[in-house]
Symmetry: C2
Subunit: 349 residues, 2 copies
């Protein structure tokens, strides 16, 4: 399948471009501990990750008639630096131990040092390294080599994306504090935190760089928003039902943190009083064991919440693919994106 | 004095530009709590702050022959958004309660909510709002309206600046963990964390936007680095000897946090064994009272550390002003910068 080959190729080209970029940003201070921190950040960026956003950005460009070129690989790689920075910060906010199957950046930093200050050091260092990666993403996008007018258009989308994802994450953090979230509220968080950030905006950035018409950019929205929601709904399912060895994240984290997912909101709506008591007791409880988690999973199945989310995923993928087939765009890109939609919604990691 | 009037004017023009920019970035999510967070961020950016970096950026432009214009005010204002973001993150890392005479952003956010999650919420929200302000600074600089070639040159300096300040802050955080820092080590932190970030790079960004020659950009370094060191040395003195009502920060924070300042490194080098025991006991001790702090201050005076730092400040201001008088640049800008050098080094807040 040529499309699948090309997609794989985009990921590895992005990786090589990232490696080359990071090579040029050595630590400006001659200090072994600063250099160790840079290595840690570089490792985190280069190892693991599905490169979803870069691939969508690439196909957004191709869909708008852009030729396969070095410029779009650089721009696509920039999105991965942005993503790495946000993930590092996110893991601090959530207190997560694992990411991409490895110890999170702030925990790794804390582990480099001993004594009472190690924990605070890990957090501070993680905030700084995340910010560095975010700054670099901007540097990399700005230097991709696309002519200034189109770059400005893409930068506007990039600016909107950053504001949206941060607002979505803020809503997500707020939801943890509030008594609970309805299905509708959880869907609003998803829209900003994931659907726009992960699918719609990367496609549009690629499109804008290639000079896409407003009409095509709107088609990317109609495809991207439902697919992005499906992507996050799958993420929520994997976050509780996934295999740690595949996802690289613990299948207890979302439950322990008390993430207000659509999955959970459905279960709360349908649960019997006894089931509700169990959910309330263990959702957001850091002492949740694997045994108790299995009982929570059973409730998510028994109430039909899991089936409902699976159905929501199917509906959204269908909506996305239908929108795509109506769009006026390069057929090869439409084919690649249709395939990606299916894979993203049905992935196991 | 026309120069002084113009300087004041730059600050208030930057403020108005910031207010206008922030007005255009309303919360993309229709949620009262997200809107409250945006207001908190906007207030933090607009109230207080000396606008040192914007003013230096402005005079860097003028020194390179740039006319007074709206473009440079926008670019200068962008530096203030960057600074605000870094300060918000810095206050989280240091656990500070006060900034600019008011409660810090993460503490304000924590105060908006109650219960056990409030502390974590404040941190998470602060990380997000700081990142938002940093993203906006990039947006604002990119949209200042200077022609693309010069904007690229300025963006390269901006990129270097962000990497340097983050590396400097990382070194600073590391220094808290290490047994202590020598005068030379403390000066390295200062160079990256402050001298480049606060003075050299803002001047060069303004210069690059106006198409400054490499020679002038180098003159800006020769002026900016010693002045930036003097600025931070004054900051360290104010951090321990300053008046809270003037600085807007507690004069106990630096001591409680155990900041490894040049001031402190000098004192350690000259202290008697009894004085050293007292310094070691209270420096970095969160239980430090005002009474014990006064004893620490006495040791900083008695060992001659304070006088030594004052002398270092004078030497650096002299070096900076000498470099400036040798530079080929617009005389009005040279005059304004000479005046600024004196004020920054001898400020009381």
């Amino acid at each position: 399948m040529p499309v699948s080959f090309t997609q794989h190729d985009v990921g590895s080209r992005v990786d090589r471009r990232l490696a080359g970029f990071l090579e040029t940003w050595r630590a400006p201070v001659d200090d072994p501990d600063v250099e160790a921190a840079y290595r840690l950040l570089t490792d985190f960026i280069l190892r693991g990750g599905k490169r979803v956003r870069p691939r969508l950005c690439y196909w957004g460009w191709r869909g708008a008639g852009g030729d396969d070129s070095e410029e779009i690989i650089t721009a696509a790689a920039a999105l991965e630096l942005c993503h790495a920075g946000l993930l590092i910060h996110d893991d601090i906010m959530d207190g997560s131990e694992l990411r991409r199957g490895r110890v999170t950046v702030h925990r790794s930093l804390a582990g480099l040092h001993h004594g009472p200050g190690a924990e605070m050091f890990g957090q501070a260092g993680g905030i700084l390294l995340g910010t560095l990666s975010l700054a670099w993403s901007d540097t990399m996008l700005s230097s991709c080599g696309v002519e200034p007018h189109r770059l400005r258009a893409a930068h506007h989308v990039f600016d909107a994306m950053r504001t949206e994802v941060i607002s979505g994450q803020y809503l997500d953090v707020l939801a943890q504090l509030r008594a609970g979230a309805s299905v509708a509220e959880a869907l609003t968080v998803i829209r900003f935190k994931t659907a726009k950030y992960t699918v719609e905006r990367p496609l549009q950035i690629g499109g804008a760089l290639a000079g896409a018409s407003m009409e095509l950019l709107e088609s990317y929205s109609r495809f991207g928003l439902p697919l992005g929601e499906a992507f996050q709904l799958r993420d929520d399912v994997l976050g509780t039902f996934g295999s740690e060895s595949e996802t690289g994240k613990s299948a207890l984290d979302d439950l322990r943190e008390g993430k207000h997912t659509v999955l959970f909101a459905h279960a709360v709506r349908k649960a019997s009083p006894a089931q509700l008591r169990h959910l309330r007791r263990w959702h957001g409880n850091p002492e949740l064991t694997e045994e108790r988690a299995e009982e929570v999973r059973e409730i998510l199945r028994d109430t039909g919440a899991l089936a409902e989310v699976e159905q929501m995923i199917e509906e959204r993928v269908h909506e996305a693919v239908t929108a795509l087939s109506a769009a006026r765009m390069e057929p090869e890109a439409a084919k690649a994106l249709t395939l990606m939609a299916d894979r993203l919604a049905h992935r196991t990691k």
